[in-house]
């Protein structure tokens, strides 16, 4: 059976078109994906992302445990800070990508993808053998609301929340006597916040954000625009751009992996070797040179030879162009500025290899 978030009835009341996504009945759009996309880039939008997983990790061996399961160096993660991580298997292939937050001494929050909660938990439990660690999946008890866009900070301040200066920061807050966690993170390529609250408070908080955000032009935003926003920002979507046969190096995530981490972790040998020499494939950004749209699983060619496959593709409302992410063989001749072809309905269409992300953040804040 499809699951519903606590805010499900709100979405239906707002006239959202509902679709099944990762086993959840979620709003894909309220009015128009393009309009919603522009609202987030220009003003501010509110998303229900309560389908995401929340796993709390505690116990005296928490740090040792996290060091074993991610390539990132969690010993360097400061209190109330967050870090983007991956969860590799023994071959370096990705079981999921995550954000890990340090909430206290031996107390961490892991936010993971909705469709991967079971796999992640299974893998975590298999990796905790002999360690004093408690893995507490609280996904069903929490709602996650994302307020994203250049005016997100103003909306939260208007609500009386004491916002923070730096991105990838998390801290507890209180609103109307209710406790929540606010973190300056998101999945849109814009500045913004994610608010983690107990389910019982989610509807009240949703209404409050829309209410206070009204003067800033806030709108509810569906998963359709969430996808076009993250694609413009070249943020990976698990299941499309990441899977168990793709390493973080191949996925273009080398920037997130320290070379000097001492502790062993799953897939370390392969990941470190690939940091030196590259992987078997690489993720590139493409901009279509005509009006055709490259989509997930379309084939990519160069000089008549199949060189790879599109993993995410669609329109860029801000660039007014069609863009895509593709895995191609790791060949230095496939580089920024070169032309490749995408097979779309049995015809080859030219595309240029371009820099990722496709758009740059206007409102850069300190990380």
């Amino acid at each position: 059976m499809t699951k519903e978030t606590y805010l499900h009835d709100k979405h239906v009341q707002l006239g959202a078109r509902m679709v099944d996504f990762a086993g959840w009945h979620m709003p894909v759009q309220y009015t128009s994906i393009i309009e919603e996309h522009k609202t987030v880039r220009e003003n501010v939008g509110l998303f229900d992302v309560s389908h995401m997983g929340e796993v709390f990790v505690s116990g005296k061996d928490s740090l040792a445990f996290l060091q074993k399961i991610v390539p990132q160096d969690i010993s360097k993660l400061a209190y109330e800070k967050a870090v983007y991580c991956q969860l590799p298997n023994k071959n370096g292939g990705l079981i999921d990508d995550l954000i890990i937050y340090k909430l206290g001494i031996n107390y961490y929050l892991v936010i993971c993808n909705a469709a991967r909660i079971d796999e992640d938990l299974n893998w975590m439990v298999r990796n905790k053998k002999g360690l004093d660690v408690k893995i507490d999946n609280q996904s069903h008890n929490y709602s996650l609301l994302a307020v994203q866009g250049p005016k997100a900070d103003a909306v939260l301040r208007k609500m009386g929340l004491d916002t923070m200066q730096e991105s990838f920061t998390i801290k507890p807050a209180t609103i109307c006597g209710r406790k929540l966690l606010i973190s300056r993170t998101g999945y849109t390529g814009e500045d913004g916040y994610e608010l983690l609250v107990e389910n019982e408070f989610s509807e009240e908080l949703w209404d409050k954000i829309l209410d206070y955000g009204n003067e800033f032009g806030i709108k509810p935003i569906g998963l359709g625009a969430r996808d076009t926003l993250r694609l413009e920002a070249a943020l990976h979507l698990y299941g499309n751009d990441l899977d168990e046969n793709t390493t973080p190096v191949e996925a273009g995530l080398s920037w997130s992996i320290p070379k000097d981490k001492k502790e062993d972790y799953n897939g370390k040998n392969i990941i470190i070797e690939q940091l030196q020499n590259g992987g078997g494939k690489k993720l590139i950004g493409l901009k279509m040179l005509d009006k055709a749209i490259a989509r997930h699983e379309y084939e990519v060619y160069k000089d008549g030879e199949k060189i790879g496959i599109i993993t995410s593709g669609g329109i860029s409302p801000m660039l007014n162009a069609n863009i895509a992410l593709a895995y191609v063989k790791n060949d230095k001749n496939i580089c920024i500025g070169s032309t490749v072809q995408v097979m779309i309905r049995e015809k080859l269409h030219n595309a240029e290899v371009v820099k990722k992300p496709f758009i740059s953040k206007k409102n850069k804040i300190k990380i």
Binding site: R17, V28, Q29, S32, I33, I34, G224, T228, K291, A292, I293, R295, G314, I315, R345
Partner: protein
């Protein structure tokens, strides 16, 4: 008489409208367009091409996905709606008077190959 009283619709959401000169205007129903959401690209056939009923004759791309459009009758294309190349969003505004896709000459006897429905019946079927 409103336009929806004059059209016939297929289960796969295409409509045909018989013109005074005996040709047909073919397009997508308003229900289909609403389901698709923002339309961003249309691939229309070349003038002069023949299609058998049920064959894919065009593709519509919304923000989310590409969808095929099937021939509701057998026909030869005699005109395409050129305005859609630069303004595919016209279809979101009005899929009948401005956002029609093609004009065509029917091939064969329409009534013999017909499983098309009146608009009211179609709406009942899809909703």
């Amino acid at each position: 008489m409103s336009i929806t009283e004059k059209i016939l619709c297929s289960k796969s959401h295409e409509y045909i409208l018989k013109n005074e000169d005996g040709t047909y205007t073919i397009g997508l129903t308003d229900y289909a367009v609403e389901q698709l959401g923002d339309i961003v690209y249309l691939e229309l056939p070349e003038i002069g091409t023949d299609f058998q009923k049920g064959e894919t004759f065009a593709t519509v791309e919304s923000v989310k996905a590409a969808s095929e459009i099937y021939a509701p009758i057998s026909f030869k294309v005699i005109e395409i709606n050129e305005t859609l190349a630069d303004a595919p969003e016209t279809l979101n505004e009005d899929s009948y008077e401005k956002g029609w896709l093609i004009k065509a000459e029917a091939i064969g006897n329409i009534s013999e190959q017909n499983d098309l429905m009146e608009y009211e019946d179609y709406k009942e079927e899809v909703e």
